[in-house]
């Protein structure tokens, strides 16, 4: 009997999760992979090197998975700071999982641009900007395209990859096309008509593992993507991956930074948020990974600025779209994609 209990106890110990203790460093949860590598290098390490507070990086999956963690830890938070997509963060804010933040509590918020301040609502502000681009095979698509219209050319039939909703790339693309067509990103009838015409040329509405890979391995010639990852893939492929910020415009993908409600290391968490939003941290991360800065006082090196939304001519192409408004349209657009666009694709 004793050995049976021993086995049961050790099994229980093996399954038990590690728990936070007061003396631990504060914990930030955000994206894993290449984001983690670069963010650790240019933001976390300098912050920890100041010697006043310490912060650990807890890699999370998608924004949705991170929200899941917040929901399950609601009564016993194990995290202090969280960086995730603005649409998901809005849910966390509405559900009271993160704290309201403003310039009174964190003066650095005053240095941020208007959109960065407003996009978080009452909760944490934007910490990175990314934007929707179209990536293409620069060897096959000559000359370099400037408009989304290039994909409607029958020459590329079967060579186009789009990420349909509920992926937010599909929502963003619809908004951009609606804005170009009607001047109002919410009036999407024209956009859907155009997408329906494009559908037969689409090989996949869900590129796996992602559009950049499929263009580089010659499965696709065009795919939608996010600028930061596209830039890294362009460098890695020696320029094979072309990136178009179309004349139709773009929309931001925004990550906001938030203080978890009931955070066990609230002070250290606040100190880190202040640091992450500060000009030096914003500059360093933009120059490393091509996410646009949200701190208006950050001075970005010109060659990096050209490749992000920080350059004025790029910023001018960002259409005024509010993700919180978009979320309300999401379900109906989701259904319209399925019933009007994807079903028109045949295949």
């Amino acid at each position: 009997m004793r050995s049976v209990s021993a086995i049961l106890i050790s099994t229980a110990v093996w399954f038990a999760p590690p728990s936070a203790q007061a003396a631990d460093p504060a914990r930030l949860m955000t994206y894993s992979g290449i984001f983690q590598d670069n963010y650790t290098d240019v933001v976390i390490k300098p912050f920890n090197a100041r010697g006043t507070e310490r912060l650990d990086y807890v890699p999370g999956d998608s924004s949705a998975a991170m929200l899941g963690q917040l929901r399950t830890q609601k009564n016993d938070p194990q995290l202090d700071v969280i960086i995730m997509d603005v649409t998901t963060a809005a849910l966390a804010c509405a559900e009271g999982l993160v704290e309201p933040l403003d310039a009174k509590l964190l003066p650095v918020i005053g240095e941020l641009d208007d959109q960065a301040r407003s996009s978080g609502g009452a909760c944490g502000p934007a910490v990175t900007y990314d934007h929707l681009v179209t990536v293409y095979d620069s060897k096959a698509v000559v000359p370099a395209p400037t408009s989304l219209k290039v994909m409607w050319d029958l020459k590329w039939k079967g060579r186009v990859g789009l990420s349909a909703p509920p992926n937010i790339q599909g929502l963003a693309l619809t908004a951009i096309m609606a804005h170009a067509d009607s001047g109002n990103w919410k009036s999407a009838d024209g956009a859907f008509k155009a997408l329906r015409e494009l559908a037969p040329a689409v090989q996949t509405f869900d590129p796996q593992p992602d559009g950049y890979t499929l263009v580089l391995n010659n499965t696709l010639s065009f795919a939608s993507g996010w600028n930061a990852r596209a830039q890294l893939n362009r460098d890695r492929s020696g320029g094979r991956l072309g990136i178009m910020l179309p004349t139709e415009g773009t929309v931001f993908q925004i990550n906001t930074i938030n203080l978890v409600k009931g955070a066990p290391h609230r002070d250290a968490g606040l100190a880190f948020i202040a640091y992450a939003l500060s000009a030096p941290a914003q500059k360093a991360f933009t120059e490393r990974m091509f996410y646009g800065p949200t701190n208006a006082t950050a001075v970005i090196a010109p060659e990096a600025a050209q490749r992000t939304a920080a350059a004025p001519e790029n910023k001018a192409r960002v259409i005024p779209m509010d993700w919180n408004e978009m979320i309300k349209l999401r379900e109906s657009w989701n259904q319209r994609w399925r019933r009007e666009v994807i079903s028109a694709g045949g295949r």
Binding site: A64, A94, T204, F205, D206, T219, R330, R347
Partner: protein, 278 residues
């Protein structure tokens, strides 16, 4: 300690694990399905059937439920048809490589779903092996992936190892002497199979098909990775609701409904099987 107590004690760890790993999560899931979702997407604690009525009144839900059933039944049927001769060969062969062959037959289980899909892309893709071959022969190329066809092929292949195993397990009751007896009574190969082998293996065929069906209807990776965003089934819908639109009540309600439907099917099958065996 009585025999009965010992039995209960021996089952205890398994029962505990089942409670922790299945019953408790299912209870949480059932509870989650009774919450509501605001139009901002935020989770609203509630005790209502609003999510169920919302889903049940949407024809799209019924469409994907039907599509999922047809897909799973079709894949299970194809997998069983392909697995049957394979399992029969493995059961009968006296080759000293028999164990090796059995491992080869179930080897796909050792490959991760993602790696398998990458393999399928190389074979079924627009520029893949099959289409390259068709082009060489001057036959029009076919769209074999990123659509329903691709998912059907991928699912049938991914559940086939399980059906092979289920069939092999059931073939134990097939005595070779019965086929010999049939032969001496004048039955040629076809009648030996039709009158003796097939009827005797039918229970394991049903079991193998059922296993394939359950695995296929709950499969997520293959429809997700090989469907090209064109294939909507219950599993992908639940995944999207859970991870993309963050509509957890909907994901939970769909899961509960799917579980209830599958349980009903299994119950029906076992009732039919019991009646058939008397």
């Amino acid at each position: 300690m009585t025999r009965r107590q010992t039995g209960v004690l021996l089952c205890l760890p398994a029962l505990l694990l089942l409670a922790v790993a299945f019953v408790w999560p299912m209870a949480i899931l059932a509870r989650m399905s009774l919450n509501e979702t605001a139009d901002t997407g935020a989770l609203v604690p509630a005790l209502s059937l609003a999510t169920y009525t919302r889903l049940a009144s949407d024809s799209f839900t019924w469409q994907i439920a039907w599509d999922s059933l047809v897909l799973a039944a079709g894949s299970a049927t194809v997998a069983t048809l392909l697995a049957y001769p394979m399992a029969l060969f493995l059961f009968r062969t006296k080759s000293r490589y028999r164990n090796l062959l059995a491992i080869v037959a179930i080897a796909p289980l050792l490959v991760s779903g993602t790696a398998r899909v990458i393999g399928w892309m190389a074979i079924l893709g627009d520029g893949g092996m099959i289409n390259a071959g068709l082009r060489l022969l001057g036959i029009p190329t076919q769209h074999l992936i990123n659509n329903w066809t691709g998912v059907r092929i991928g699912l049938a292949e991914s559940v086939m190892p399980y059906t092979v195993l289920a069939l092999l397990a059931g073939f134990g009751r097939l005595d070779h002497a019965l086929e010999e007896a049939a032969a001496t009574l004048g039955a040629g190969p076809f009648f030996r199979f039709w009158r003796v082998t097939l009827p005797l293996t039918l229970p394991s065929v049903t079991a193998g098909w059922m296993l394939g069906f359950v695995l296929a209807i709950s499969a997520f990776i293959t429809p997700h990775l090989m469907g090209g965003g064109r294939v909507f089934v219950l599993a992908t819908e639940i995944f999207d609701a859970a991870t993309q639109t963050l509509d957890w009540p909907a994901a939970a309600a769909l899961s509960v409904a799917a579980l209830a439907g599958l349980s009903a099917l299994m119950l029906l099958q076992s009732l039919v099987a019991r009646r058939g065996s008397v």
